[in-house]
C-alpha cells in the first residue's frame, strides 16, 4: 500500500509535528504548571520496549503477503536474522545490512 499525497497526509504530518513540539516544550515552557506523577515516570521506562515491537510486528508479518499465504515468511526470516545481529552486535548498520540482504536473497531465490 502506498501513501496518498493529499491534504490528509499534509494535515497528519503537521499534527504529528505540533504534537511532538508540544511534548518537547512541555516542561521547558510550562514547568510551573506541570508535575509528573510517579506512576507516569515508572511506566515511561517501558514505552520503548512496548511500542517498538508493536510497530515491528505488522510490518514484518503482514506487509506484502504473497497470495495464498497468511503471513510474509521471507520478511519473518530476514527479521529474525536481523534480530540476532542486533542482539549480538547492538549495531544499527550491521542489522540493516543483514536484514536487507537476507530479504533480497529470499525474494530473488524464492526457495519456497
Amino acid at each position: 500500500m502506498t501513501i496518498n499525497n493529499d491534504w490528509v497526509t499534509v494535515l497528519t504530518i503537521l499534527a504529528c509535528g505540533v504534537a511532538t513540539l508540544l511534548l518537547r516544550a512541555s516542561f521547558v515552557i510550562w514547568h510551573s504548571k506541570l508535575s509528573v506523577p510517579h506512576w507516569f515516570t515508572r511506566s515511561l521506562k517501558f514505552v520503548a520496549a512496548a511500542v517498538l515491537p508493536a510497530l515491528v510486528m505488522p510490518e514484518v508479518l503482514f506487509r506484502g503477503i504473497p497470495p495464498g499465504d497468511v503471513v510474509n515468511y521471507y520478511r519473518i526470516i530476514a527479521a529474525v536474522l536481523a534480530l540476532l545481529v542486533a542482539w549480538r552486535t547492538r549495531h544499527l548498520f550491521a542489522t540493516l545490512v543483514v536484514g536487507m540482504i537476507a530479504l533480497w536473497l529470499l525474494q530473488w531465490l524464492r526457495p519456497f
Binding site: 503537521l14 511506566s43 514505552v47 511500542v51 515491537p53
Partner: protein, 238 residues
C-alpha cells in the same frame, strides 16, 4: 576567546562522532517515505516538521496502511513520550532564556543532545555556557539530519519498489529496541506487546498498535513493581 564560543566548539566536538552514527538512520528517514509513495518535497517537509526519527518512521508506516489521522498522531505521541521526561529535566537549564529561545531549544531536543548536555553541565551552570554548548551540539545535528534525509530521498526515489526499502523501518526499530531491554520486566513488556500486536491486527482503525503498546507498558510496569517487591522480601528473609 569568549566562554560561550569555547562552549560552542566543545559542543561541536562532542556531537561529531554521533553524526557519523546517525547517517544510516537519517537516510532511511528520507528514503522510507518516498519508497512508500510520498512526494519527495513532502518527505523533506516532514523531516523538518517532526524532526524525530522513530516517530517519523512510525508515521510513515501507519500512513502507508491508511490509518486514520488521530491514530497516527496518537502513535507519534506515544513514541515521543520520552521527550516529556527530557523536557522536565531540561526546564531548569533553559529557565533563564527568552521564550522564543526556549521554543527553539525545545524543537532541537534529541536523545543525544539531551544526554550530552546533561552529562556536561549541571542546571545551575552559566546560561551562556549552556546556550553555547547546546547550540554546538544541536545545530550541526539538525543540519546533518536534514542532509542525510535529502540523500535518502534521492536514493529512495530511484530505487524500484521490488527492493522493499520499506523493510528498513522494522529493521531500525529492532535495532533500537534491543538496547532498551535492560531488565526482565522490559523483556516481558516487549513480549506482551508483540503478542497483542499480532492478535489485534484486524482491530478497526488499526487501534491494535495502541492497544498492544498500552498492554506492554502495563505488563512491564506491574512486573517491575512485583520483581522489586520480591527482591525486597528476599532481602528481609535472609
Amino acid at each position: 576567546m569568549q566562554p560561550s564560543r569555547t562552549a560552542f566548539y566543545a559542543g561541536l566536538r562532542d556531537q561529531a562522532p554521533i553524526i557519523l552514527g546517525m547517517i544510516p538512520f537519517g537516510m532511511i528517514a528520507g528514503a522510507a517515505p518516498v519508497a512508500s509513495g510520498m512526494d519527495p518535497w513532502l518527505a523533506l517537509a516532514m523531516n523538518v516538521i517532526i524532526f524525530a526519527g522513530a516517530a517519523q518512521l512510525a508515521t510513515v508506516s501507519l500512513m502507508a496502511q491508511h490509518v486514520p489521522l488521530p491514530v497516527v498522531v496518537l502513535t507519534a505521541m506515544v513514541v515521543n513520550l520520552r521527550f516529556v521526561m527530557y523536557s522536565a529535566a531540561l526546564a531548569p537549564y533553559f529557565a533563564k532564556f527568552s521564550t522564543p529561545r526556549k521554543w527553539l531549544f525545545s524543537y532541537l531536543v534529541t536523545d543525544h543532545g539531551f544526554a550530552l548536555l546533561t552529562a556536561k553541565y549541571k542546571a545551575d551552570a552559566a546560561p551562556e555556557l549552556i546556550a553555547g554548548y547546546y547550540s554546538g551540539l544541536t545545530f550541526p545535528m539538525w543540519v546533518a539530519w536534514q542532509s542525510c534525509a535529502v540523500l535518502g530521498i534521492l536514493v529512495g526515489t530511484r530505487v524500484p519498489p521490488s527492493w522493499s526499502l520499506d523493510f528498513t523501518i522494522p529493521l531500525v526499530f529492532l535495532a533500537l529496541v534491543l538496547p532498551s531491554l535492560t531488565t526482565r520486566a522490559h523483556w516481558w513488556a516487549a513480549g506482551a506487546a508483540s503478542m497483542v500486536a499480532i492478535f489485534t491486527q484486524s482491530m478497526p482503525l488499526k487501534l491494535g498498535l495502541v492497544t498492544a503498546a498500552a498492554v506492554g507498558v502495563v505488563v512491564g510496569t506491574l512486573l517491575d513493581s512485583l520483581f522489586e517487591k520480591q527482591k525486597a522480601n528476599r532481602g528481609t528473609t535472609k
